[in-house]
């Protein structure tokens, strides 16, 4: 076995409130495909960002060809021959494929771009990745798989020896995956070292040589690519659920929210479930499984093709947030800053945004009533603030989230959809939000909770729905839901889709 071309030793990295990486060791040899797996938030992204120069380690070292190296910028990584293909492509859609391939360093002649040479070189590069298309084509007209190959060709143009691919198969169809794997095999034979991140465990024996499993910012184990899937899943999720989830199950009452056969082509298909009064129904699944899409569609924020949504047995019109709000539905969106709050408005204004029309007479808002109500709910939720006039931008993440939840409490919503309710929130505020969830179900509210935090799903849900590739892969009662059973369902459906 040859010498490692890239080695990471004892690397640690902290962000405010989060230990993203802790004592991570990782290495890559020429001509191997090293697969990196782990749950969302396990630290894979932070690790590859470190290798591509976006982050610097707080401690530990990175060695390139045995020599300690500081990768301080993307151009430094490029100079070292390390290229990264992110899920979001770095292509300029309005430019031609050839221009993108040689972005920033087009071949020149007498100071002008040498179009002929650019075309010739682009054709060669496209040929190397097995892409047969006109280099003059506008990049925005390409399909996802083609754009991905253009990205790889761009990396080859820079003589990359290390290629890092972040979930490259997530967006591809079966045939496209086969072509990508054939290309990866050719690159491996040419001595390129490849770091391959995937959620699709069944791909590992096909494409990988070795696997490294990450969890909670640490490397928890390594295995040959032929290791059984069950072994990998156990490594990925094998942590105990602590007492930080104080779920007190309430008695389930009548169904408040019913979703029947909800379908939108390309996003989700035939999703049916119900949520009863007093229940917390968790929705687990990998990123991209369609959980947020279903939540937004049933709330009326996005359209759907077929199926129906009933609240208290009454059908809800599609695509009408206002009607959803009136019927008692509330959404705490995934990204509270861009979707949940008016950041430059004050707390009172944000808390009262849903209930603007309540108590209004002839179009005039009830100012005194709104202020009193905001004051009451802010007190009830324990929002730490200097006063109702404080701008929400200046609040901490946990307090901002309380304001988003508070606006629906003021509206007396009976069904709350919480999309990643504790993302980016410190531990103390998390527990407060869990206690709030308990109080809400105790008083007969129904909660649909989407979360990528598996312990949170297991700790707080009375039932767990698992989505995979836009479908409901299964439903587990709290007693039967374990990290293994949920993860197995979450990665299910991928075999059929891929092999």
């Amino acid at each position: 076995m040859s010498q490692a071309m890239l080695r990471v030793e004892g690397v640690g990295k902290s962000f405010p409130g989060v230990r993203a990486l802790d004592g991570v060791d990782f290495d890559l040899r020429p001509g191997e495909v090293h697969v990196l797996v782990g749950e969302n938030g396990a630290g894979k992204s932070t690790l590859i960002k470190m290798l591509s120069g976006a982050h610097q380690p707080d401690e530990g070292s990175i060695l390139v060809d045995g020599a300690p190296t500081r990768i301080t910028s993307a151009s430094e990584a490029q100079r070292l021959g390390i290229a990264t293909i992110y899920q979001e492509f770095n292509l300029v859609p309005e430019l031609s494929v050839a221009e993108n391939l040689m972005l920033g360093r087009p071949p020149r002649r007498w100071g002008l771009v040498d179009r002929k040479r650019m075309r010739r070189e682009a054709e060669e590069l496209l040929d190397r990745v097995g892409l047969d298309l006109d280099p003059a084509r506008r990049t925005s007209t390409l399909g996802i798989a083609q754009m991905q190959l253009v990205e790889i060709a761009k990396a080859l143009a820079l003589d990359a020896r290390v290629l890092i691919m972040d979930e490259p198969t997530a967006v591809l169809t079966t045939g496209e995956v086969d072509r990508l794997f054939a290309l990866v095999d050719r690159l491996r034979d040419r001595g390129v070292g490849i770091v391959f991140i995937t959620h699709h465990l069944e791909e590992i024996p096909r494409i990988g040589d070795r696997v490294t499993v990450m969890r909670d910012g640490r490397v928890v184990g390594g295995a040959p690519a032929t290791a059984p899937e069950e072994e990998l899943i156990t490594m990925m999720v094998g942590r105990s659920i602590s007492q930080q989830y104080p779920r007190e199950a309430a008695e389930a009452g009548e169904p408040l929210l019913q979703v029947e056969g909800l379908t939108r082509a390309g996003a989700f298909e035939d999703v049916s479930f119900e949520v009863r009064a007093g229940e917390v129904v968790g929705v687990a699944g990998l990123v991209g499984a369609g959980r947020t899409e279903v939540a937004r569609a049933l709330f009326g924020a996005d359209r759907y093709d077929s199926g129906r949504v009933l609240v208290r047995g009454r059908p809800l019109p599609a695509g009408d947030v206002h009607a959803a709000m009136e019927s008692g539905l509330g959404l705490v969106p995934e990204d509270r800053k861009s979707q949940g709050l008016v950041l430059d408005a004050d707390i009172a204004e944000n808390l009262g945004i849903v209930t603007l029309g309540h108590g209004a007479r002839a179009g005039f808002v009830n100012r005194k009533g709104r202020r009193d109500a905001a004051d009451r709910v802010a007190g009830q939720l324990g929002v730490k603030m200097s006063g109702l006039g404080q701008r929400v931008r200046t609040l901490s993440g946990g307090n901002q989230q309380k304001v988003v939840i508070g606006k629906w409490l003021l509206a007396e919503s009976s069904v709350l959809i919480l999309d990643e309710p504790t993302r980016g929130i410190d531990v103390g505020a998390k527990v407060e939000i869990y206690q709030l969830i308990n109080a809400l179900t105790e008083s007969g509210h129904a909660i649909l909770m989407i979360s990528s935090d598996l312990p949170e799903i297991l700790g707080m849900s009375d039932r767990v729905l698992v989505m995979s590739r836009g479908r409901l892969a299964g439903e587990l009662p709290a007693a039967e839901a374990t990290q293994d059973s949920v993860m197995t369902l979450a990665v299910s459906g991928m075999e059929e889709a891929h092999v």
């Binding site: 709330f299 924020a301 947030v321 206002h322 959803a324 709000m325 009136e326 959404l331 969106p333 861009s338 979707q339 949940g340 709050l341 008016v342 950041l343 430059d344 408005a345 204004e349 945004i353 849903v354 603007l356 029309g357 209004a360 179009g363 005039f364 808002v365 100012r367 931008r393 200046t394 606006k407 509206a411």
Partner: protein, 324 residues
Amino acid sequence: MSEATLVGAAKRPSKITAWAAENGAVIGLIVLVAVLAVMSEDFLNPTNLLNVGVQAAVIAILALGATFVIVTAGIDLSVGSVAALSAIVLGVMSAEFGLPWPLALLMALATGIVCGLASAGLIAYGKLPPFIATLAMLGIARGLALVVSDGSPIAMPDAIASLGGNIGAYLPIPLLIMLGMGALAAVILSRTYSGRAMYAIGGNEEAARLSGIRVTRQKFVAYALSGGFAAVGGIVLASRLASAQPQAGTGYELDAIAAVVIGGASLSGGKGTAFGTLIGAFILAVLRNGLNLLSVSAFWQQVVIGVVIILAVLLDTLRRKASV
């Protein structure tokens, strides 16, 4: 001021400093008036001051309308043209069709509102950027004003023309109309469902939508109000000239937007008040009047006004940075 007091002020601002920080335009107007009072002895003459008020009135009314739209993070470039078209409709309806003036007045108002609704429709359903939709409306309304009037002025009925005069010896009616429209705009923006919804939409349209606010409907309200206010502005302008002129109000949209911005609104939305806009319009009018009294050439006046716009927005940006 010593550093200690500065720190103290930052920690617990008194009501006065807090108010001053939120109303920079008022301070600007006071300073401007003080400087002009010293530099020109005619400036504080009551006749001159009332004259400034009358000069400010039309721009102020257009700017108040534009404030609704700007608060929603939109823009309305058509207010000057819509003002002219509405006045022409009033003239044609009463002079050529012999309609009684109150009815003609209502039709003029309706013209402004319809123009606003048309812009809003293009924005909401045609997905045109507000800049483009209202730029098109600027051309269309001006063109229609020329077509309907055949390019020549139309006399106003006496009842309308008298609106350009005074109550008693002194009180100019345009000034009263402006104050009335200012009060109306203030009430709509601060007290009504639509007004508050406009701030939410301008602050974060997606959050407003996901909170059940009917964003499209409220945008229609904002643009319709802008059109309606433009019509009133056009009628006031025509009453002062005693005739509706198809070329009246050309370029007023830019003065109106300048007044809104000087008054503290942000073109990125969510911010701005009727009071601030009135002050902004007054700053422009006082500046023009003062520069005239000081015999500054009309050419230089434009430069000065440009600099004032820059200063107003620059100071606002700096102040906001300091407060974060």
